[in-house]
């Protein structure tokens, strides 16, 4: 379970361009559910996912993960939590160019010190699951949008995270591929993972795989689904 209490996030604090992205959010997210944060661009969805995924610290408020307060943990521990608990699927795919699909999938696990051969086996298995193992030796810049998205999902799962965070995962996909992606998200949920998605795409928030839709506007929760 993830719990946020009175979370605020202010960028450029004390400067003329100070901007409040999240203002006073209280939220509980249950495990093994698919939750979608819905809202227009600039509403604070991505910032909220960054805070939950330990990529950024809130300006004030507390975040609890499995009832443990994580907001005040040092950077090292936050990174460890991020690596072990969360898998990220980014809007821009964020694959590293110039290396192969397989290497991209293995990358998050390199610092864990796992043996290369067992890591490779696990990464190949994930590529198999997402039906892209044939492209394992290809460089990522040769992939289509749909293929690249499947690689980012495989990469997100390589450390076997319990929470998968996806930021606008369908923004570069057509409707057919977006539906396919939601099918994959459903499989992740069925695999006992918590799935958090930020999206303003109806294909996502209207999908029957989604358990809860939270509407966000101007850094505040407007409506709990």
């Amino acid at each position: 379970m993830i719990e946020l209490t009175n979370i605020r996030k202010v960028f450029n604090m004390g400067r003329p361009n100070e901007f409040t992205a999240i203002s006073g959010i209280n939220l509980r997210i249950d495990t093994n559910r698919m939750t979608v944060f819905r809202g227009p661009s600039g509403s604070g969805k991505t910032t909220l996912l960054s805070l939950i995924g330990c990529m950024a610290r809130p300006t004030s408020g507390r975040i609890y993960l499995m009832e443990k307060e994580i907001t005040s943990l040092p950077e090292r521990f936050l990174t460890e939590i991020r690596r072990r608990t969360f898998g990220f699927i980014f809007q821009q795919f964020n694959l590293i160019k110039g290396i192969t699909v397989l290497e991209n999938v293995m990358l998050p696990a390199y610092p864990t010190g796992e043996r290369y051969s067992s890591l490779k086996k696990r990464a190949m298995n994930l590529l198999d699951i997402f039906d892209i193992s044939k492209k394992a030796r290809d460089r990522v810049e040769w992939l289509s949008g749909g293929e690249a998205q499947r690689v980012t999902i495989a990469r997100a799962l390589v450390n076997n995270p319990s929470v998968v965070i996806a930021d606008e995962p369908t923004s570069h996909l057509d409707t057919k591929l977006s539906r396919e992606l939601m099918g994959m998200m459903r499989r992740l949920k069925e695999d006992s993972r918590t799935v958090l998605i930020a999206s303003h795409d109806p294909v996502v928030y209207e999908s029957d795989a989604v358990d809860r839709v939270i509407r966000i506007a101007d850094g505040k929760i407007e409506e709990h689904g």
Partner: protein, 377 residues
């Protein structure tokens, strides 16, 4: 332990693939870096080898030499000075030496002529250094013409050619019998060019030198250590000049390295952001950057040293020859005997790898502190 090793291996693997992805930029850096190490190593190897060579040869030289001076100029020394010096307590032996320079107009070079105690070439014969043989195209059994002090021509037959080892001194050397020497230069029987001494206790050298100056005020005493110091300072000076010139290049390189490391491109920053977002720690990124730097610096260091070794010891330092050799005494091309020690390697390491590492470590750390959420925005 095993986990830590695997982590290192994985990160090294990725660091190397990162270098390969930016082939052009890194190949340029590698080239410049190797060139600088090569230049520095060439200077260090050359000056060390030449000094080492000189000191090995001078080990066999007399501890003390006495020369007569007339109005400050070197003049022939009477043989009867030997008896007066021999009376000084602590002197084991005193011997007269015959040596001089002969200008050969055919090749436009000066030869150093000596009358050796052993081996005696015999009247009418000479033993020559390889440099003379090479320039005169004269070999064993051939004769070389010499013009004596009074204009007469004498033919001396080559009995032997000296081995190329230690050619630094023997290259222009010509060994001649005492009779032929006196005939060539017109040196009278009771005179020598200088006197050489052996002493019982080397710590008494300066005392004996002082006593000689008192007994024979028209002489000057030269100690072997002074000659060695002259060699050292001459080659240190030459090496120093080149090091100063190269320091400029080294400084430019450090600025280049700093610039490379402090200003990671947009792509590199993005990549670091991705790595941090997917679970890499700041220390993992610094480690990766460290291995990238080590791969570049060690590759350049090793290649620079190998190329310099080949340049100095196998191609006669053809690039630096005019600056470093210089002297006419050493004039013909000679091969240095390969010589390298740990102090040279560590000097080069501190002159090249350390400045690069220092120049890149802080910028690498700065690059590694990119916020992980930068890739989300």
């Amino acid at each position: 332990m095993k986990t830590s090793t695997e982590r290192q291996k994985n990160i090294i693997d990725f660091a190397l693939s990162s270098l390969l992805r930016r082939k052009g930029k890194n190949a340029g850096l590698l080239f410049i870096y190797t060139l600088i190490v090569f230049a520095l190593a060439s200077v260090v190897f050359f000056t060390h080898a030449i000094k080492e060579e000189a000191s090995i040869i001078l080990k066999g030289a007399p501890e003390m030499t006495v020369q007569k001076t007339v109005a400050g100029r070197h003049d022939l020394i009477p043989i009867n000075y030997i008896d007066r010096i021999q009376k000084i307590r602590g002197v084991i032996s005193v011997k007269g030496r015959l040596w001089g320079y002969y200008y050969d107009p055919i090749v436009g070079a000066n030869y150093t002529l000596v009358v050796p105690e052993t081996p005696d070439p015999g009247i009418g014969n000479i033993i020559i250094g390889e440099g003379i043989s090479r320039t005169r195209l004269a070999f064993e059994g051939d004769s070389i013409e010499f013009r004596t002090y009074d204009g007469k021509i004498i033919d001396l037959k080559i009995k032997k050619i000296l081995s190329p080892e230690s050619e630094i001194i023997s290259s222009d050397l010509l060994m001649i019998s005492e009779a032929d020497f006196r005939r060539l230069f017109g040196t009278r029987e009771n005179y020598a060019v200088d006197l050489t001494l052996k002493v019982r206790n080397p710590r008494e050298l300066s005392t004996i030198a002082r006593k000689i100056s008192e007994i024979l005020p028209d002489t000057r005493v030269i100690l072997r250590d002074e000659i060695l110091r002259t060699y050292d300072s001459v080659f240190n000076w030459r090496g120093g000049i080149l090091i100063i010139i190269l320091a400029g290049a080294l400084l430019s390189f450090v600025i280049f390295a700093w610039d490379k490391a402090s200003g990671p491109s947009l792509d590199e920053r993005r990549e670091i952001g991705i790595l941090k977002a997917i679970g890499w720690e700041t220390s993992d990124i610094i480690l990766m950057k460290f291995w990238e730097g080590m791969a570049i610096s060690l590759t350049s260091f090793c290649s620079g040293i190998i190329f310099a070794y080949i340049h100095i010891f196998f191609t006669d330092a053809f690039l630096f020859e005019p600056v470093l050799k210089g002297w006419s005494v050493l004039y013909p091309h000679f091969k240095l005997v390969p010589f390298m020690d740990a102090s040279q390697i560590s000097t080069l390491f501190f002159l090249s790898v350390v400045p690069y590492t220092v120049a890149t470590i802080i910028p690498s750390w700065r690059a590694a502190t990119v916020d992980p959420d930068s890739v989300m925005r």
